[in-house]
Symmetry: C2
């Protein structure tokens, strides 16, 4: 049973996980869908009610039925590096590859459907609320009057994008910024705007969830509190921190409802020690946390990927069984 990793060639985070997988002898195939139909080939046959599919990369052939897990790390656009790339070829190659993979019994980190849904910020906030995580008062609106009323109720405000990164090439992250309550909100009418009560924080929290395992890190706020820690230079390192049982329970409920095997949760900790949910990035980076804290995130991911599929142990072939 093989672990399939879909990512670009240069991905040191994936390298970290592969090292652990190799150490345990689990067969790994790593490929970038962008290399369809150059270095990567595929074939699937639907005959007499059965499906047999194969992927080939770097001269290795792997059966789609023999996959134990699929790690959607940072896959490129299908066939992007083909001799004659086109939107049509990307669509055909993507349909073929993911259409076949979607029919397999492997465990996904994360499944494309769950990943897609998990990116919707309003959906995240609603789910976090339902799971019992504290969410700062938030408004998403195209009504200037609603924005004004919200600013009157919560004068200490930040504004941030509803979606993630700005779709430039390369994509540009848009930092969270403070906004004055008496700002001119009339432009809200031209595009949905996300306003959120600013939480006076004493620390940022990054909680990395891998399956059932939760690894949290804390970065104390310096003298100059940064609104958006992602864009701040800071000498303060991330330090491991315990997760309160109530938070752990809520985070696991979130992952279960979101059908995510991996999630990078961003919280801010207020003066009372409460962790306020900001977002959960289903493909969030973890290398910087592992470097600072020494938490075994890459190894935990490798262990999750290596876990056999329920009921598939019997199908482990000789090669896989021998590998150590």
């Amino acid at each position: 049973m093989t672990v399939l990793i879909l990512t670009s060639e240069e991905d040191v985070t994936a390298d970290m996980v592969v090292v652990h997988l190799n150490a345990t002898g689990v067969p790994v195939v790593r490929l970038d869908p962008a290399d369809l139909t150059g270095g990567v080939a595929l074939s699937g046959e639907f005959v007499h009610g059965a499906f047999r599919g194969h992927l080939s990369a770097a001269g290795r052939l792997v059966s789609i039925g023999g996959l134990r897990s699929v790690w959607m790390r940072r896959p490129g656009t299908p066939a992007a590096r083909a001799a004659a790339p086109s939107a049509w070829l990307a669509e055909e190659a993507g349909q073929a590859l993911y259409g076949m993979l979607r029919g397999c019994d492997a465990r996904w980190m994360n499944h494309p459907d769950a990943a897609r849904r998990a990116r919707y910020k309003p959906w995240q906030l609603r789910l976090a609320q339902r799971c019992g995580l504290p969410v700062p008062a938030t408004l998403i609106t195209t009504f200037p009057q609603a924005a004004r009323e919200f600013a009157a109720r919560y004068p200490d405000l930040v504004v941030k994008p509803v979606s993630g990164a700005h779709p430039q090439d390369p994509p540009r992250a848009v930092p969270t910024s403070r906004v004055a309550p008496d700002a001119d909100f009339s432009a809200v009418a031209f595009g949905p705007t996300l306003l959120q009560r600013r939480v006076a924080k004493r620390a940022d929290i990054r909680l990395t969830a891998v399956g059932e395992r939760l690894l949290a890190a804390r970065k104390a706020t310096g003298a100059e509190a940064e609104v958006d820690v992602r864009f701040a230079e800071s000498a303060t390192p991330w330090r491991p921190v315990e997760v309160a049982p109530r938070v752990a329970e809520a985070v696991r409920a979130y992952l279960r409802d979101a059908e995510l095997a991996y999630g990078a949760f961003d919280f801010v900790e207020d003066a009372d020690g409460t962790w306020w949910f900001l977002e959960c990035n289903q493909s969030g980076q973890f290398g910087f946390v592992e470097v600072d804290t020494g938490q075994p995130i890459a190894r935990t991911i490798a262990e999750w990927l290596a876990r056999p599929v329920a009921g598939q142990e019997a199908h482990v072939n000789g090669v896989s069984a021998k590998a150590t």
Copy 2:
């Protein structure tokens, strides 16, 4: 409880359904996401663990919590008709609109995640197989040798796109075509190719599924059998036809597993009367079938959309409760 229809302004198929909804007095809001943030506005507040969201279109305000169903008919790209459209605005508007709608308890025809997954042809074939529908032998491959071997086994072949329409503007459908078994398959290496055993057909079947209700129509093959009936001019009309219990059971299993409330199934009927699964289009047109057969497809969709959400009957307001 309101029915929300997301579609473009000019959509006669949606008009047919709205007529039935209006006749029963069920409140309907119809809007095109392309009209964000012109004629369409939205607002959602996440405060103290609760969510309150609203949509406004054509001067009508509807509560997102008060939606009984959402019909994803033919929604335009979010904010496409805004004063200053951009990829960024489309992303922000789409995240805001669908992010909020995804948090509601309404029934979807079809849910965006189910719809997206249902477009993958390899996934369709696999699911149809598992549900017990006969699927013509099919190969999807980038290996020329695999194509040659398949053609030797099934010399009467057709080739068709793995994905749907060619992404031109406007998109162009690519017809299914016959291919000779001794064709030069070397170009298969440059793009995934779908080869399928051609079924010698005596009729085409369009089975429209709306919830549990199945409405099938049959078009007898003329003297000149068309390979792809979608592109053929034909004097033969569609006629209603019974669905065999075994097929009905398999189709319902398909819809259940695919989590689809609506599906347009294309089959071909062979000389033995067997229906061979070709595809299930989760957004397939139905007007032409209704016109030919008189089958009440639009009314059945209206009934499905009007059905109250389980557990929400208590919230039906006076207007809805009176409607019959």
